[in-house]
């Protein structure tokens, strides 16, 4: 038997050990997120998935689901908070969508569209973040890094390589690579690594294929991020039946 909790007034069932995020996505209910990824341990750093439970604010990705929980997510108060968090991420790095190879595939951009972020609101930080083009096949554009640590986690947990790590603290926190030279060419990264494919923005890019899919035909150009996130969530087949498929008609 599975237990249930309430999310924005809807009943969501969950398995033991699931978080609110996992249960919600499984049930087809989108909670905005950037650092959460269904294949990795929850991180809880971007804070986009902040929900309200009994007046308290919590991260849905790290909060264990509990029976009887009354959670609010899709309310204006929280969506306003999410817009501010997105604006913070947008001014913290250097994000120039029109010329960015990740435009249309970028989860930050797509989530900002989804939540109707119209302006960056804050002053741009314009940080000085040099590119790393040292690797023959891979380009690192740190300007777009949102410090979600997905590449760090992927390289460590799945690739067993530890190509990436975080250094610095506070607003000077930044991504580094595992080489005395500090250059990607001196690491053991490979194109087929999981770390190559988890960046939600456009930091880790394969060289030589830029703009091979035209803008307008990319991932989030086709379906908004809320729908894509539900497609990506591991979940059982939708209950109910289709007469056509089951040959009853």
């Amino acid at each position: 038997m599975t237990d249930t909790f309430q999310l924005d007034g809807a009943t969501v069932s969950f398995e033991p050990c699931q978080t609110v995020m996992q249960a919600a996505l499984t049930a087809g209910r989108y909670i905005p997120h950037l650092c959460y990824h269904p294949e990795f341990k929850p991180h809880g750093s971007c804070k986009l998935c902040t929900i309200k439970v009994g007046g308290r604010t919590l991260s849905a990705c790290t909060m264990p689901a509990e029976a009887g929980l009354q959670a609010e997510s899709n309310i204006e108060e929280l969506n306003a908070l999410r817009r501010t968090l997105l604006q913070m991420l947008l001014v913290e790095g250097n994000h120039f969508c029109p010329s960015c190879e990740a435009s249309g595939n970028c989860q930050l951009q797509a989530t900002a569209y989804e939540l109707q972020v119209m302006t960056p609101h804050f002053n741009q930080f314009f940080p000085d973040r040099p590119l790393d083009g040292s690797h023959p096949d891979i380009l690192l554009d740190f300007n777009r890094c949102i410090l979600c640590e997905l590449c760090v986690r992927a390289s460590c947990e799945m690739d067993g390589k530890n190509v990436f790590a975080l250094a610095g603290r506070g607003i000077t926190k930044h991504l580094i690579v595992n080489a005395e030279s500090g250059m990607l060419r001196d690491t053991d990264i490979a194109l087929e690594d999981k770390a190559m494919h988890v960046c939600p923005v456009g930091v880790i890019l394969k060289k030589g294929v830029g703009f091979s899919v035209p803008i307008g035909a990319r991932r989030y150009d086709q379906r908004p991020v809320g729908a894509q996130a539900l497609d990506d969530a591991p979940r059982p087949a939708i209950s109910g039946s289709c007469d056509a498929c089951e040959g009853k008609s």
Partner: protein, 600 residues
């Protein structure tokens, strides 16, 4: 390359050996490596990486997290002026500027000859005898113009730190009011002897009955914590003492560790007996590096007297020992889960909770983590008995509390009071006059205005971890708040978006107002940022980072409004300011290199 690693092997070998090649000792290893070389050399990192089996990027990540660790040459002499508001009130800024002039260098830069660098650091816990500084990690107090000049001369002459006048390094205890804790004359082991007759369960019961609450600020009942730790399933239990006293304006743990080290260790050993722990750790803030040797000597004495080690006081199976772990300049490590991460040799980033340290603490094992003063108070409560201990203080805040008084008063120092003392009484005792406000419990605490001086220190009314900074009517509370905002921005660990970016934005906005470019719009912005920080930050640092601004805005709004332009709105972009870099590059600062401003 080969000769390089050979060079580093000679001094790193013994350090790694002493730490048993343990990854959990990484921070200690890096600290000691730096003491040899002044900074951590890239080849040293590669060497440590191979020997410990930790990716070098992760080692760089750890080193880069802590303010006192350097990955590039930082000068043979590294001078850091304590930058708490109390240091500033005692004139630290002109002293810093003068020293920079004397040594011909720019703040934050290393001198051309690699001799010296000068910068600021967060409060070093010497507020009662500031202005203070750290030179290569050693605390120097009571800075004057003359003392700073002498220091400059010693640096120029390359005099080794060990040959500097010893009175530079003197740290006074400044105990102004004593009580049951500071006045105790307990012999080492006395409390443990009593505790052994009680037995583990009765100790916890007695602590619960005493009403003892954690002295770190949050006030969690100590007895409940110990009981939960004792009952939590695990292979090994740990006792951790939080001596990472980083809250600006607090220095009571410094005095306890100097005067009552045995009581601290006795309290930890008592806790170990109660929860069934065999390993203890004291996390000492890097700023108190000078206390390391005396504390280690105290531990050694206790081992010799059978108060630590195997079969303590002859009790079979009562095995417990304590190691000291030094921090390296990170306020966030005072947060309990960040402290545990740091203790494990990692970046001091607060963990996701639950689970809590009491069940999943150090190395994911049950851990009883308390503040220095809490362990002392626990030992005292067992010695006095719950009933007598509970009679001190107020119903919900039993016992006494050490208050670190600093700022505008003739008698700064440590005051021990029963809980329930009013702000007014403390002000009278320290001789403060014309007091405009008191910052209780540091920047993350509350700013108390004159109309509230009858409030009482205690968990029922004004909870405090111990800081008590006094500001008289000559002080500008906006500048106080701005100093605190800079502090939080500097100390944010950067894990979560709201705190990492929000504290930086808050700092920008306060600086904008200070520069005379602020408008009403900025005050609204501050309120919005406060809301975001409070509701969505990962830990207490972010959630309290806006307190100083909120409280001073509430009580001293004119201090903000008098700085605003009369205009309702002014673009945040400062055209002339944008040319600053061009001016720097061309070495010009004449009138022609500036845009004409209105009225000019």
């Amino acid at each position: 390359m080969v000769s390089d690693s050979g060079l580093h092997a000679t001094y790193l070998g013994p350090i790694l050996e002493r730490h048993g090649y343990a990854a959990t000792s990484l921070l200690q290893i890096l600290r000691e490596a730096q003491e040899h070389y002044g900074y951590i050399h890239p080849s040293a990192i590669s060497y440590i990486s191979v020997k410990l089996g930790i990716p070098r990027a992760r080692i760089e990540g750890v080193a880069g997290f802590y303010s006192f660790l350097h990955l590039r040459p930082h000068g043979e002499y590294r001078v850091l002026f304590s930058d708490n508001i109390t240091d500033r009130m005692l004139g630290s800024q002109p002293l810093l500027e003068e020293m920079c002039r004397q040594l011909w260098l720019q703040q934050g830069k290393v001198s051309e000859d690699g001799l010296v660098s000068i910068n600021t650091t967060s409060c070093t816990g010497m507020c009662d005898q500031g202005p203070a500084m750290l030179v290569n990690g050693r605390a120097i107090t009571r800075l004057t113009q003359q003392r700073v000049q002498e220091i400059g001369q010693l640096i120029r002459n390359r005099t080794p730190l060990s040959d500097w006048p010893s009175d530079f390094f003197a740290v006074d205890d400044n105990i102004r009011r004593s009580g049951p804790l500071l006045g105790n004359t307990l012999a080492p082991g006395a409390v443990l002897s009593t505790a052994l007759t009680l037995g583990s369960e009765n100790i916890i019961e007695e602590i619960k009955q005493s009403g003892l609450r954690g002295r770190g600020g949050a006030g969690f009942p100590a007895g409940l914590k110990w009981e939960a730790c004792r009952n939590a399933p695990g292979e090994a239990r740990h006792v951790v003492c939080n001596a990472d006293e980083g809250e600006p304006g607090t220095f009571k743990d410094r005095v306890l560790l100097t005067r009552q080290a045995d009581l601290v260790f006795e309290g930890m050993t008592l806790c170990a007996l109660a929860v069934g722990a065999q390993h203890g750790y004291l996390y000492l803030r890097g700023e108190y590096r000078y206390l390391l040797e005396p504390l280690q000597a105290a531990l050694q004495r206790r081992r010799e007297n059978k108060l630590l080690g195997k079969n303590i006081l002859g009790q079979p199976g009562f095995d417990f020992d304590i190691v000291i772990h030094l921090g390296a300049g990170a306020y966030i490590c005072g947060e309990e889960s960040a402290l545990i991460e740091s203790l494990e040799g990692k970046r001091g980033v607060p963990r996701n909770r639950p689970p809590f340290p009491v069940t999943h603490g150090y190395l994911q094992q049950p851990t009883a983590l308390d503040n220095v003063e809490t362990f002392c108070a626990a030992a005292l409560a067992i010695h006095m008995g719950a009933e007598k201990y509970r009679a001190i203080g107020t119903p919900k805040s039993s016992g006494s509390k050490l208050i670190s008084v600093s700022g505008d008063c003739p008698r700064p120092g440590i005051y021990e009071y029963p809980f329930g003392v009013s702000v007014r009484e403390v002000l009278a005792d320290c001789g403060a006059v014309n007091t405009r406000a008191v910052q209780v419990s540091g920047p993350s605490g509350v700013c108390v205005a004159a109309s509230e001086f009858d409030h009482r220190l205690g968990f029922e009314d004004l909870p405090t971890a111990g800081a008590f900074m006094v500001f008289d009517d000559s002080r500008d509370l906006f500048e106080v708040a701005r100093n605190f905002v800079h502090f939080f921005a500097h100390e944010s660990c950067g894990f979560c978006t709201p705190c990492r970016v929000g504290t930086a934005l808050l700092k920008q906005t306060m600086d904008k107002i200070a520069a005379g470019h602020g408008t009403q719009y900025d005050l609204h912005e501050i309120e919005n940022l406060d809301q975001v920080l409070q509701t969505s930050s990962h830990c207490g640092l972010g959630r309290t980072a806006c307190n100083p601004v909120l409280h001073t805005l509430r009580h001293f709004r004119p201090a903000y409004e008098s700085r605003l332009k009369s205009l309702e709105f002014k673009p945040a972009f400062d055209l002339d300011g944008a040319l600053a870099r061009a001016r720097q590059m061309t070495g010009r600062d004449d009138a022609g290199a500036h845009l004409k401003t209105e009225g000019a």
